[in-house]
């Protein structure tokens, strides 16, 4: 049993199933990310944990207590909203002090605690400002400070960084993690940004269409995707259609355009003759390979595009057009012939299914 247990929670809005028998267990002190595309039900799940929505069925247990029908104000699960929800008519101090006042904390104690949290989030000296007088990053910190100051048992973060620009987002996600870890708070972090989830969370639940697709550490999710959705949603991927020719000791030999690709059997129920989806991550494809081994194919460079530290090279191969990520600049001429290869341990072969986000 975890610190937070979500048991078989289902929620419908009209005919739309927002959550479909969701079960999760979150440990004390853990930062747990719920990751998925828009409309997958992650915010609904967070709101149900906070008590702002009621589930149609299922239970929410926090610290061993069934709080499914408990009022939000009794749950000690404090939420940081996507739009931060700062009260525009209150100063930074008043915004942060609100929760303490509600709890009947003395004036002296309030001042002390607000000072402490302002220092924690590096906002000293801004207590008399109104939210509209702050930058986006400062507003985000006020929202976080307002939640932290009441020392919640559970911190719920609903895409807290999505309203920030890209640079600030990267800066804030590291800060956020170290702050929450420092205070030892259990946190549930909802995001649609896989990179953010990977950096911030101890564990991730990937959701799609109201269902939990996989739960694991960031590296497990990345390296051992349980299905085609997770494999394609997390990280970039080349997906090639083929047919399973042979399956042996967890290794699948899939035929694509009369060529064989060898990779890991990633669907339990995969059988010979099944239509398969072969997932190849761009960073695991190597260029300029030689020899006569498995998974070596000849290709022709179609284009190359430098993106930051990487160059994205598109290569037309005998198994289809593939995107390859190369570290540094790629100098080869366009239309030049090139061999590509990849290790079978980095190839995931799933039974083919339509994936929609």
């Amino acid at each position: 049993m975890g610190f937070v247990d979500i048991l078989n929670v289902t929620k419908k809005f009209g005919n739309v199933v927002a959550l479909d028998s969701v079960t999760l267990s979150i440990d004390r002190g853990e930062i747990f990310a719920v990751l998925g595309p828009s409309g997958c039900g992650k915010t609904t799940l967070l709101r149900i944990i906070a008590g702002l929505e009621l589930p149609d069925s299922g239970k929410i247990i926090i610290n061993g207590v069934d709080v499914t029908y408990e009022k939000p104000q009794k749950r000690r699960a404090v939420m940081v909203f996507q739009n931060w929800a700062l009260w525009p008519h209150m100063t930074v101090f008043e915004n942060i002090a609100y929760g303490l006042k509600i709890r009947g904390v003395s004036r002296n104690e309030i001042v002390k605690k607000v000072r402490w949290v302002l220092e924690l989030v590096k906002l000293e000296g801004l207590e008399d400002r109104y939210p509209h007088q702050l930058s986006g990053g400062q507003q985000q910190r006020v929202a976080l400070a307002r939640a932290l100051v009441v020392e919640p048992e559970l911190l719920l973060l609903d895409e807290p960084l999505s309203n920030l620009d890209a640079r600030l987002r990267i800066e804030m996600r590291d800060e956020l993690r170290s702050l929450v870890k420092k205070l030892g708070i259990t946190a549930i972090y909802v995001t649609h940004d896989q990179e953010e989830a990977m950096v911030v969370a101890d564990r991730i639940a990937v959701m799609n269409r109201g269902r939990v697709m996989q739960v694991g550490t960031p590296s497990e999710i990345f390296s051992k995707p349980r299905d085609l959705f997770v494999a394609t949603f997390i990280g970039r991927a080349n997906v090639i259609r083929g047919v399973a020719e042979k399956i042996e000791n967890g290794i699948v030999y899939a035929k694509v355009n009369d060529k064989l690709i060898v990779g890991l059997k990633s669907s339990e129920d995969l059988s010979i003759g099944d239509s398969v989806a072969i997932v190849l991550r761009p960073q695991f494809i190597k260029l300029g390979c030689r020899g006569d081994e498995d998974n070596i194919f000849i290709g022709r460079v179609l284009s190359s595009k430098a993106i930051g530290l990487l160059t994205e090279v598109k290569i037309d191969t005998s198994i289809g057009i593939l995107t390859v990520a190369v570290t540094g600049l790629y100098q080869k001429d366009i239309s030049g012939a090139v061999n590509i290869c990849f290790d079978k341990e980095n190839v995931y072969i799933f039974r083919y299914e339509e994936v929609s986000f």
Binding site: K71, Q73, M79, N83, W87, G99
Partner: protein, 609 residues
């Protein structure tokens, strides 16, 4: 998946464990059931106590109510000697088919004309740009500011064939031997059109202005002509506004009591009900009056609920991202000429009642076509004439008391409509909206029947044995509630729900979260709604006129100003005072509307949401 009974019970328990939910739902619900639903149901129960089939037979076979043999003539043209000269007079009157059919005819014709004019003005003022557009825009909303009885009196005065200004200009000034008049049904229709087209205009304008301009740009981009865009995009997307405006015009015109009184046309349903109050103890319980009251309630509510459903079905979801407001098109020279030849004269024409009220207020006498003298004496009567003074004091007391109740109820209703999902809050929202359509005369009848019967009989609610003040105040709260609910609701809608949720999340109770995190942000909306509701309470007509005089009108009476306006109208001494009272009401309405529209960024007018 079927939701189990256990979860339904748990959910209900969860909702009702919130004291603020219970308060915001059940206090207004109880109030509206007692003071809206029961008064509306009483005429029906009274009718059922009698023999409803016999009464229906009596009504349907009585030529006073329904007759297929029309009486009178549509237009009366005759040659007469007037002022020593031979002239032709043409008086538009209308024929009578009995009160019920007459009311339908008057309301239908008023609606058709009003809708056509309202749509035309809305289209031109919303879609086109031309010199002087803002002046026309301001002129178009002038009929929004009405002075009960005084405005209608001016219309009657202007179109009277003997002493009217129109005939004076045609016959005496220009010298054409013709005098034109509007009387009876035609007079009522004319007055309705001049005052009600603004409802259609504002509803249609709002609908047109909510059309995303990219939809029109896309059609232009695909090669569509403007005429086709009008037909295929603008009109269909404005249909909810057109339907709402037209149906409200129909309801307001069928229930209107002031114009039939002014034009002395008693062969209409509204007048039949009003007349029954001339002898309230027997009249209001007469089978004919009960039947008419029920009929007018059913017509109004039927039309209103029907149109509300239609509008909610036709409310198109915003599928485009962002919103680009309409970019006005340049009007061609021919178009500008047409606007100045037809629209401007009509708008000036429609402003005659308001202009006339001020002339009436500042003149010593206005009997002949032209007013005589200039005086401020008519305003001095507000203090000097004890009856008028008391009426003003009564109106202010009733309106302020009503306002406190309206503000309290509106906040609760708007909160529960916005925050509580479920059939009960939807029912409350509907209940708070329908007073827009409920005829004031039906409320007056219902209140009279309710408050003169046990357990209210003899209490402070009883308008005969105690005073009509309480009943009038409560009637104001019910009738003017929708204006304020709408303003407050808009305030809640514009306040992100997360601001309240985060307070709950931090441990505040719902009441505390609402009062500390939401209410301060809605203060301006409440103020805007309050201003509008206050002036509309002051100018409330039907209930004031029907219940105001139940204790008689002597010194220390309990009647509001609208009753006195009806009582003083067309008396030798009082007509100018009615004008002065009307002028003050118009000024107050202008101030409230301008202030609240600045606050709320839009007019608080009746519409269907």
């Amino acid at each position: 998946m079927k939701i189990s009974l256990e979860y339904k019970i748990n959910r209900a328990t969860f909702l009702f464990s919130e004291p603020f939910y219970i308060v915001s739902l059940f206090i207004p619900l109880t109030y509206l059931v007692i003071f809206l639903l029961i008064p509306l149901a009483i005429p029906l129960t009274e009718l059922l106590k009698a023999n409803p089939i016999t009464i229906a037979n009596y009504v349907f076979q009585n030529p006073r109510y329904i007759s297929l043999n029309p009486i009178g003539s549509l237009i009366e043209v005759k040659n007469v000697v007037f002022g020593g000269r031979n002239i032709t007079i043409a008086v538009l009157k209308g024929v009578s088919f009995g009160s019920i059919i007459n009311s339908f005819i008057v309301a239908t014709i008023s609606t058709l004309i009003t809708t056509a004019i309202g749509i035309a003005i809305a289209l031109i003022l919303s879609i086109y740009d031309f010199p002087g557009k803002n002046i026309l825009r301001n002129l178009a909303i002038v009929p929004l500011f009405a002075a009960p009885f005084a405005s209608g009196y001016v219309v009657k005065k202007f179109f009277d064939w003997r002493y009217g200004l129109l005939s004076y200009v045609i016959n005496d000034v220009i010298g054409i031997p013709l005098r034109i008049g509007f009387e009876s049904f035609a007079g009522v229709i004319l007055s309705e059109v001049l005052s009600l087209y603004v409802i259609v205009y504002l509803n249609v304008s709002a609908a047109i202005n909510s059309i995303d301009y990219t939809l029109i740009e896309q059609a232009l981009n695909l090669g569509s002509s403007f005429r086709k865009i009008l037909k295929d995009i603008i009109i269909p997307l404005s249909m909810p506004g057109i339907a709402a405006g037209a149906s409200l015009t129909f309801i307001l015109s069928i229930e209107d009591i002031a114009n039939p009184i002014i034009f002395k046309e008693d062969r209409l349903i509204a007048y039949e009900i009003f007349r029954s109050f001339q002898d309230p103890t027997t009249g209001s319980r007469s089978p004919g009056a009960l039947f008419m009251t029920i009929l007018i309630i059913l017509i109004s509510l039927g039309v209103f609920i029907g149109i509300r459903r239609y509008v909610s079905y036709k409310r198109y979801a915003a599928i485009t991202r962002g919103f680009k407001p309409l970019k006005p098109l340049k009007l061609s020279r021919k178009g500008i000429a047409l606007v100045y030849l037809f629209i401007l004269p009509f708008l000036l024409f429609a402003s005659i009642p308001q202009i006339g009220v001020f002339i009436l207020a500042f003149s010593t006498r206005w009997y002949e076509p032209l007013p005589e003298g200039f005086t401020l004496e008519n305003f001095a009567a507000f203090v000097d004439d004890k009856i008028v003074f008391t009426a003003i004091r009564n109106s202010i007391v009733y309106s302020l008391t009503a306002l406190a109740i309206i503000a309290f109820m509106s906040i609760l209703i708007a909160y529960s409509s916005a925050r509580i999902k479920g059939s009960l809050s939807y029912f409350l929202d509907t209940l708070a909206t329908i007073p827009i359509a409920v005829p004031g005369i039906a409320i007056a009848s219902g209140f009279f029947l309710l408050f003169t019967s046990p357990p209210f009989r003899g209490t402070l609610f009883d308008p005969v044995l105690f005073s009509p003040g309480t009943a009038i105040t409560i009637a104001y709260t019910v009738r003017r509630l929708p204006f304020m609910v709408r303003a407050v609701y808009a305030g809640i809608q514009q306040t992100a729900v997360e601001l309240e949720e985060v307070a709950l999340n931090l441990g505040a109770s719902r009441f505390k979260a609402f009062t500390s995190a939401v209410l301060p942000l809605m203060a301006l909306h409440i103020l805007g709604g309050t201003l509008v509701a206050f002036v509309y309470c002051l100018s409330e007509t039907s209930v004031g006129v029907m219940l105001g005089g139940l204790k008689g009108v002597s010194v220390g009476h309990a009647a509001p100003i609208t009753f006195i306006m009806q009582d003083y109208l067309e008396t030798l001494y009082g007509t100018q005072i009615v004008g002065a009272l009307g002028a003050i009401l118009i000024i107050l309405q202008v101030i409230a509307t301008v202030t609240s529209s600045a606050i709320l960024r839009g007019y608080v007018v009746i519409g269907v949401r």
